[in-house]
């Protein structure tokens, strides 16, 4: 299914930035990435994305449906993907929990899809403030069964324009659901953004889609495999695919790590706040750097292992009560000393707060070294 891409949605002068919310920019990036079907159900703090798609998809003659529930939306995505569409849905934490069954089916059926989670404070209904507490749900599959989704964790509105086409590309390339893990702040805040480098991902041959079997042998997509041997084989096939993702799709950014004696690990909005803190620490000659996972799964474990040869102090910062730290512990596997600061519940720590805490831990660590 090919889509013509129009740039008329935003004021389309090349090289000119526009002030846009993360939600709206994500919508435009999806449109430019050839998203042909969007299904969504309203929930704060991602409503502007659904709103944007309602307008733009209709303008372009593409499919927009406000579904009756999050569960319906993810299953519409499944249906559209079965038919070969580039399909997307979005929600926030409570809605993401509802979508997990559908994501498990997408993974089992090896169907491409892009699913956006603008995370808010939880558990339960929680609140509508930005949070990072869906990390484990997103990076461990989230639904039932042995499966993985690629998880992209952008940290700015501009970065969304890189991550969204990448998400559609990876989804098609691996025939797998891809999750964009944002948070309420990324969705709500406005920043200057341009779409100059957004190109629709290439079209992959889709020899599996169900388009009517006229003139060709019929196809079947299903996840019900009563034969245990067949199910086990299917699982191992999926595992081999996940291993290929782990080999090829790890993405991360380093910041001031060359001479670092302490490395902060943070992602998304958390990494932004950490960057502000690290800049202050550097002014006082504290050698602190950062590794920012862009793919929360596959996690940049090998990079941390490499740093652990020379660096002993690692500091995990997250807007949750201790989820990212599990991946850091697994990656370091007992090497190095891990410090932690996390705030759950929709609290947004300030760069100054983090600067003080990292600074204190840094001094504690250097005293320990000396003694």
């Amino acid at each position: 299914m090919r889509c013509h891409v129009s740039r008329s949605g935003y004021r389309g002068d090349e090289n000119l930035k526009k002030l846009m919310s993360g939600n709206a920019a994500l919508g435009e990036a999806a449109v430019l990435s050839g998203c042909s079907c969007y299904f969504g159900y309203p929930i704060t703090p991602q409503n502007e994305l659904t709103e944007y798609m309602a307008k733009r998809m209709n303008e372009l003659g593409r499919v927009f449906i406000q579904s009756e529930s999050e569960i319906a939306a993810i299953n519409m995505v499944l249906g559209a993907s079965v038919a070969g569409a580039r399909a997307m849905t979005s929600s926030s934490s409570p809605g993401m929990s509802l979508k997990q069954e559908g994501i498990s089916y997408l993974a089992a059926d090896e169907l491409p899809a892009v699913i956006v989670d603008m995370v808010r404070g939880g558990p339960g209904m929680g609140n509508i403030s930005p949070a990072q507490s869906d990390y484990l749900q997103a990076t461990r599959g989230g639904g039932h069964g042995d499966y993985k989704t690629i998880v992209l964790a952008p940290g700015s509105v501009q970065e969304l324009t890189k991550v969204v086409p990448l998400a559609f590309d990876l989804a098609d390339r691996y025939r797998n659901p891809v999750v964009i893990l944002g948070d309420g702040m990324l969705g709500q805040m406005m920043e200057p953004v341009d779409f100059d480098n957004v190109q629709p991902p290439k079209e992959y041959p889709k020899d599996y889609i169900l388009t009517g079997a006229k003139g060709r042998p019929s196809r079947m997509i299903r996840s019900l495999l009563f034969d245990t041997k067949e199910e086990e084989e299917h699982n191992w096939k999926l595992v081999r695919k996940y291993q290929r993702m782990e080999q090829n799709e790890v993405r991360y950014e380093t910041f001031l790590t060359d001479d670092a004696e302490m490395i902060v690990i943070a992602y998304g909005i958390g990494a932004r706040i950490a960057k502000g803190a690290i800049k202050r620490l550097r002014q006082e000659n504290l050698k602190v750097g950062m590794v920012r996972p862009i793919t929360a799964w596959p996690f940049p474990a090998a990079v941390l292992q490499e740093f652990a040869r020379t660096v002993h102090e690692f500091f995990v910062f997250e807007m949750s009560a201790g989820q990212l730290i599990e991946d850091v512990k697994l990656a370091l596997n007992g090497r190095g000393h891990i410090h932690f600061y996390g705030r759950p519940g929709g609290i947004i720590p300030t760069p100054v707060e983090l600067y003080r805490i990292i600074g204190r831990h840094y001094y504690m660590a250097s005293r320990r070294e000396q003694s």
Partner: protein, 179 residues
Amino acid sequence: MMTRTIFSGFGGQGVLSMGFTLANAAMLEGKYVTYLPSYGVEVRGGTANCTVVVSDEEIASPVASEPEFVVAMNQPSFNRFQNILSAGGLICVNASLVNTDVARSDIEVLSIPTTELAERLGTTKVANMIMLGALIKASGIISFDDMIKNLGELLGEGKAKLIKLNKEALEVGFNYVKE
């Protein structure tokens, strides 16, 4: 240099558009900028606020826990946000609606009778632009001249007939504040 400003007031006073206009103007000047609206559980007629961070460098957080500037268009906003202003910070107050007797002693208060000034221009709808002009004069966050130059773009398509009125309002506010 980085400045953090919170705009606050009743929903309908043009509080969000004040912040959005400043953020947009700063962007056109080539600065780093973030704009974060409050998206909490609000009621019609209740309070609205937004935070604008303008910087020469990448911005770590769009949240301002200790802003340098606050604009308070109504009393509840004044009472709430004067408390989080940095010591030595400036609060621009809509004098037409706000009593500043309870102001903290370690901050500066700039009172602008926006409603009265706006009425002289024929409509109270531009009270927010008068306030924005005053803030820019008192804070120097962005260049006022550049902003006036870019006003057509800032107001967006289809608002050409409003350029003159908004320009006047911005100038009234800007000139009201003495050096």
